[in-house]
C-alpha cells in the first residue's frame, strides 16, 4: 500500500480554476495533533482552577436519606463539598421532551441528585479541591446513607402494572410510544408465499471516546460572564442551555471548544455532572474542572442501541417483498436525555426500517420505557444500525427461505434509481438515491461471484466463510424538522464569516466544530475554491460562541453539507466584494475580473492584475486613494439551512467477508466493502476515512461491545479490559466505493457521510455469520454482539 498523493480535480459544475472540491487535500491542522501539541479540554489549566470529583450512587435506585459532609470538608485541599439541594440554588432542573414526539414525557432532572438516585453512577454530591486526587480522597469521606429502592431494569416488565413506577408523577414507566400502519399489512402477509419471523436483540453499548468528557467552567464575578471550555459538538446549543439553567443571558456565556478527543454523538448532550461543574464555578466564583475517568464514562456517558425487536417479513416466490412488520421495545434509563430526548432512536427505527425497498405494506410499533440504568440517547448513526440490521437480516433470511441469492432479492426490491423523487412506506422523502448502481458497484468491487466460488470450495475442506450484505439509507443534513419544530433551541442552520486580512489571507469563522472528521479542512476547501486562493492562505476558526457565527455544530452528518455550503456561499460573496475593490483600483469592470490562486486576474485570459496582499494594503491603509463614496467590505457572513427537504438522505450498501471458527466460535473478519452515495464529494479521502471509522464502530457493535448489567442495575464491565472495543489486530482492511447523486438543495450538492459506515456494518456482519453457518443447520443469530459463546450455542456445541 502506498500513500497516494492528492488527486487532480475532476471537472464538475462546481469547478472554478484551481478548485479544491473533490480533492484529497490533507487537513491543514494536523501537525498540532501529531506532535502532541493540541489543546483538549483535559489539557486546560487556568489560574485558581479547582477540580471536582463526584460521589456517585452505588445503587441503581435509592432514596438519599442523609449526606454527612463534615469529614470531607476538613480533608486536605478541599475547597467545598456541595449537595444537590445546595446546587439547586444556582441551577434549575430540566426536562428532556420535544413537542413533535407526541406524548413523550420525562421527569425533571437535577445537576446533582436530590432525595433520590435513579441509576448506578448518578452524582449525589460534589467535592471540589485543589487537585483531582485530593477531591477523590475526600469523596471517600462523604457519608451517604441510602435506602435502597427496587430497581426496574427489564424493559419487558416495565409496563406490566406490577412493576414499581420510577417517577410517580408520570403515572407509569412509559416514556414514548409510536404506532404506524401503512398499506394492507395483514392481507400482504396472508398472500405471501413465505413469511419469516424472528426476534432481534441489540446489546446496549456506548461511545468510548478516547478522551473522556471534559469541561472547565470559569465564572468571572467581575465580568458577570461564564466561560466554558467544553469538549462538545454543539457550542451554541450548550451556550443556550448553560445560560438558561443558570438564569443568565446567553451573551453572558462563552463556550470554547478546541480539540475534542472523539465525540460520535456522546458529546452532544446535556450531562448532569457537566452542568453541575458549571454551576459550581458560579457558586465558588472560580474555575472548576471536571474530567470523567473511565468508570465514570461507562456509567454516565450516554448508552445506546438497547432494543428488542420482534420482526416479520413476507415474500412471494418471485422474491417480491410483500410486507414488513416490527415491534420494538427499548429501555432508556430513568430520564429522557436533555434536550434531544431519548425518543429519537426508537422514532428513527420506525422511520427507517424497510426504507431502501419499494414494499408499500409496513406496520411498526415502538415503546420506549424508563428503567434504572444509565440513560440512553443519540449515538453515531442513531437508530440506523438497528433498523438496517432488522431490515437486512429479514431480507437475507427471506432470501434463504425461498432459495434466492441475497443480492438478487435486493435487486428485485430496492427502489429503482429512476423512481425519484419518491418516499418510503413510513413517509420519508427521498430526493435522489442510487441503490441499484451502488449494488452493482459493490458486486464487481468485491468480485462477488469469485467469493462465492471460493466459499464453496473451502466449505468442502471444513472452512466456513460467510458473505453478508446490508443496503442502507442514512439521514444527513437535517433541517429544522429534526429538533427545531419540537421546540428545542438546536439550530439546523450554520454560518461562515469570511474576511480578507491585511496581508491578503482569508480568515474563516464557522459554526461547525471539529472533532476529527475534517470539518475545518472541508470548510477551508470550500472557501479556497469559491473565493479563489490556495488552501495555505485560508485559516479556519471554530468552536467559540463569542466569535463564530451561530450554528448547530457537528452531528447528524451535517458539517460538510450544511457548514460547507455556508462557507462556499460566504467565499463567493467575499470574492464579489474583493473584485469590486480591485475594479475600483484597476479602473476595470468587476465582471471582467476574477480571483484565482490568490491573484486578481482578467477573467477572460487569466492575466494577473493585482495580488491580494497589494489589494489589502490599499484597502486597509490607503483607502483615501479609492474613489469617493466607495467603501471596501472585506468581511461577509453567509448562513445556510436546508429548506427543500427535511433531510438529505444518502444510501449505500456494505459487504462483509468473514470466517467462523466452528470449534471456538471466533469470527475472523477477512475484508469489508462499502459503496455509498453522499452526493458531491468535497474530499474523497475524508469521506473514505469517515466510512472506515464508522464501519469499525459498527463491527464493534456486532462482535464485541456490550454494557452488561445485572438484574439489580449494576454495570458489570465498566472498564476497557472487560468492555471490548475493536483493536487493530482484529479489524479488516476496508474498501470504499462511491456513487455521486448530489442534492439540488444546495449549490455544493454535498450530503453527509459520517454515519453510513456505522449504519450498515452490524447488519452485514450478522448476515455474513449466518451465511457461514447456514450449511451447518445453525439457528440464525440475531442477538448482538455475536460473541463466541452465542455462536457455539447456535451450532449446538455448548
Amino acid at each position: 500500500m502506498k500513500i497516494t498523493d492528492d488527486s487532480p480535480p475532476v471537472l464538475t459544475a462546481l469547478d472554478r480554476p484551481n478548485s479544491y472540491i473533490g480533492r484529497s487535500v490533507p487537513r491543514p491542522n494536523l501537525q498540532r495533533l501529531t506532535q502532541g501539541r493540541g489543546q483538549y479540554v483535559s489539557d486546560v489549566t487556568l489560574p485558581r482552577m479547582a477540580h471536582v470529583a463526584y460521589v456517585r450512587s452505588p445503587h441503581a435506585h435509592a432514596r438519599i436519606v442523609k449526606i454527612a459532609t463534615d469529614a470531607a470538608k476538613k480533608a486536605p485541599g478541599v475547597i467545598a463539598v456541595v449537595t444537590g439541594a445546595e446546587l439547586a440554588k444556582v441551577m434549575t432542573p430540566w426536562v428532556g421532551v420535544l413537542t413533535h414526539l407526541k406524548g413523550l414525557k420525562s421527569a425533571p432532572q437535577s445537576p446533582i441528585a436530590i432525595e433520590r438516585a435513579c441509576w448506578q453512577g448518578e452524582a449525589v454530591c460534589a467535592v471540589v479541591a485543589r487537585t483531582r486526587a485530593e477531591a477523590e480522597d475526600a469523596c471517600e469521606l462523604v457519608e451517604v446513607r441510602y435506602e435502597e429502592l427496587s430497581a426496574v431494569t427489564d424493559p419487558e416488565i416495565a409496563l406490566d402494572g406490577k412493576t414499581p413506577v420510577i417517577h410517580a408523577s408520570l403515572g407509569d414507566n412509559l416514556c414514548f410510544e409510536r404506532k404506524l400502519d401503512v398499506g394492507a399489512v395483514d392481507k400482504a402477509f396472508a398472500e405471501s408465499d413465505a413469511v419469516v419471523e424472528t426476534t432481534f436483540r441489540f446489546g446496549r453499548h456506548t461511545g468510548v471516546t478516547n478522551e473522556p468528557r471534559a469541561v472547565v467552567a470559569d465564572w468571572n464575578e467581575g465580568d458577570q460572564r461564564m466561560t466554558v471550555y467544553h469538549g462538545t459538538q454543539a457550542p451554541h446549543m450548550m451556550q443556550n442551555l448553560f445560560a438558561k439553567h443558570l438564569g443568565i443571558a446567553e451573551h453572558q456565556v462563552r463556550v470554547l471548544t478546541k480539540d475534542v478527543g472523539g465525540s460520535f454523538g456522546i458529546k452532544v448532550h446535556t450531562y448532569a455532572d457537566e452542568m453541575a461543574t458549571v454551576a459550581l464555578s458560579k457558586l465558588l466564583k472560580r474555575p472548576v474542572k471536571f474530567v470523567a475517568d473511565r468508570i465514570e464514562s461507562f456509567v454516565t456517558d450516554i448508552h445506546a442501541r438497547d432494543h428488542r425487536i420482534k420482526a416479520k417479513i413476507g415474500v412471494s416466490r418471485d422474491g417480491t417483498i410483500t410486507a414488513f412488520e416490527i415491534d420494538d421495545l427499548t429501555g432508556i434509563g430513568p430520564y429522557s436525555v436533555y434536550p434531544r430526548t431519548s425518543g429519537i432512536e426508537a422514532n428513527q427505527i420506525v422511520n427507517l426500517t424497510g426504507g431502501p425497498y419499494k414494499c408499500p405494506n409496513y406496520r411498526a410499533q415502538t415503546r420506549v420505557v424508563f428503567q434504572n440504568k444509565n440513560v440512553m440517547c443519540q449515538y453515531r448513526a442513531v437508530g440506523h444500525p438497528i433498523a438496517v440490521a432488522v431490515t437486512e437480516g429479514l431480507v437475507e433470511l427471506a432470501a434463504a427461505k425461498i432459495g434466492m441469492d441475497p443480492l438478487e432479492l435486493r435487486r428485485r426490491n430496492l427502489i429503482a434509481d429512476d423512481a425519484y423523487p419518491t418516499q418510503s412506506a413510513s413517509g420519508l422523502k427521498f430526493e435522489l438515491l442510487s441503490h441499484h448502481e451502488a449494488l452493482a458497484h459493490l458486486d464487481s468491487m468485491m468480485n462477488y461471484a469469485g467469493l462465492r466460488a471460493e466459499q464453496k470450495k473451502l466449505r468442502e475442506k471444513g472452512i466456513y466463510r460467510g458473505i453478508g450484505f446490508a443496503s442502507f439509507i442514512e439521514v444527513t443534513n437535517p433541517s429544522a424538522a429534526f429538533y427545531g419544530v419540537g421546540g428545542a433551541r438546536i439550530t439546523s442552520m450554520d454560518g461562515a464569516t469570511v474576511k480578507l486580512d491585511a496581508q491578503g489571507t482569508i480568515i474563516v469563522h464557522t459554526g461547525v466544530t471539529e472533532q476529527g472528521q475534517g470539518a475545518e479542512a472541508v470548510v477551508a476547501q470550500c472557501v479556497a475554491s469559491s473565493f479563489g486562493v490556495p488552501m495555505d492562505k485560508v485559516r479556519v476558526i471554530t468552536g467559540d460562541t463569542d466569535n463564530t457565527p451561530y450554528g448547530g455544530g457537528t452531528w447528524a452528518s451535517r458539517a460538510a453539507g450544511i457548514g460547507g455550503e455556508a462557507a462556499w456561499q460566504a467565499g463567493k460573496a467575499l470574492r464579489a466584494n474583493v473584485v469590486a475593490v480591485a475594479a475600483s483600483i484597476l479602473q476595470a469592470k468587476p465582471d471582467d475580473l476574477d480571483i484565482r490562486s490568490g491573484v486578481v486576474v482578467d477573467k477572460a485570459n487569466g492575466t494577473e492584475r493585482l495580488p491580494l496582499d497589494e489589494l489589502a494594503r490599499v484597502a486597509y491603509f490607503r483607502p483615501d486613494t479609492l474613489p469617493p463614496g466607495f467603501q471596501a467590505e472585506l468581511m461577509v457572513t453567509r448562513h445556510y439551512v436546508p429548506r427543500a427537504w427535511p433531510f438529505a438522505f444518502t444510501n449505500g450498501i456494505q459487504g462483509c467477508y468473514l470466517e467462523v471458527d466452528t470449534d471456538t466460535g471466533f469470527v475472523k473478519l477477512l475484508k469489508h466493502w462499502c459503496v455509498e452515495d453522499c452526493g458531491t464529494i468535497i474530499n474523497p479521502q475524508l469521506v473514505d476515512e469517515q466510512i472506515r471509522g464508522g464501519v469499525v464502530q459498527g463491527i464493534g457493535a456486532a462482535l464485541f461491545e456490550h454494557c452488561l448489567y445485572d438484574e439489580r442495575g449494576q454495570l458489570l464491565n465498566g472498564n476497557m479490559a472487560d468492555y471490548l472495543v475493536p483493536m487493530a489486530a482484529e479489524m479488516p482492511d476496508i474498501e470504499c466505493g462511491h456513487v455521486v447523486s448530489p442534492t439540488a438543495d444546495s449549490e455544493l450538492g454535498a450530503k453527509g457521510a459520517g454515519e453510513a459506515g456505522t449504519a450498515g456494518a452490524p447488519g452485514s456482519v450478522m448476515n455474513a455469520i449466518n451465511d457461514a453457518l447456514r450449511p451447518l443447520g445453525a439457528q440464525p443469530l440475531t442477538d448482538m454482539p455475536f460473541t463466541p459463546d452465542k455462536i457455539l450455542a447456535a451450532l449446538g456445541k455448548v
Binding site: Q35, G36, N210, G694
Partner: protein
C-alpha cells in the same frame, strides 16, 4: 492519602528534571500535571488503550501503569521530545498525508508504538503492524489508514537504507 512524597531525578526529553512527587502519582500524571507535557494522554487509566504510551530507557511503556517514582534515574521520552528531535518526522508526515488520525487523541501513543516497531528495521507485514499496534485504541479511524501510514514509512525507510 498522600503521606508519602519522594524526590526523583530523571531526564525528560533530554532535560534534567528534579521534582518531589507523591508516591502514588503515575508517570503520565506527572508528565501532564507536573511538567505540563500534555502530549501524552490519559484514556483508560489501566493499561488498555495506549493513549499514554511514552518511552522509558528506550522501551515503550504505559504511562498510567508506571509510577513517577519508578522513573528515578530514568530517561523518559514523550511525543514532544520525539517531535523536536525529528526522530518520528516521517511517521508524523505520513499520518498527516494519509489522514491516519482524526481526533488525534491516540496519535502520540500510536506514533510511539509504531516507531518502536519500525526501529527494529525491515518492512513488517500489515498483519505484523496490526499486531504491534493492537494495544493502542483508536475510535476514529478504524485503523486501516494507520496501517497504511506505518507501512508506507517502513517501505520508505527500507528504501533509504538500500
Amino acid at each position: 492519602m498522600s503521606d508519602h512524597a519522594l524526590d526523583i531525578s530523571l531526564t525528560v526529553n533530554g532535560d534534567r528534571v528534579q521534582e518531589r512527587v507523591d508516591a502514588r502519582t503515575t508517570l503520565v500524571d506527572f508528565l501532564r500535571e507536573g511538567l505540563a507535557l500534555t502530549g501524552s494522554h490519559v484514556g483508560c487509566e489501566h493499561g488498555v488503550c495506549g493513549a499514554c504510551t511514552v518511552r522509558v530507557n528506550g522501551e515503550i511503556v504505559r504511562g498510567c501503569l508506571m509510577l513517577a517514582v519508578q522513573c528515578d534515574g530514568a530517561r523518559v521520552e514523550t511525543i514532544e521530545g520525539m517531535s523536536d528531535s525529528g526522530e518520528v518526522a516521517d511517521l508524523q508526515a505520513a499520518f498527516e498525508q494519509r489522514n491516519a488520525l482524526q481526533c488525534g487523541y491516540c496519535t502520540p501513543g500510536m506514533v510511539a508504538a509504531a516507531q518502536d516497531l519500525l526501529k527494529r528495521g525491515g518492512v513488517p507485514s500489515r498483519d505484523e503492524i496490526r499486531e504491534h499496534l493492537s494495544g493502542n485504541y483508536c475510535r476514529c479511524t478504524g485503523y486501516h489508514a494507520i496501517v497504511d501510514a506505518v507501512e508506507a514509512v517502513a517501505q520508505a525507510r527500507a528504501g533509504a537504507r538500500k
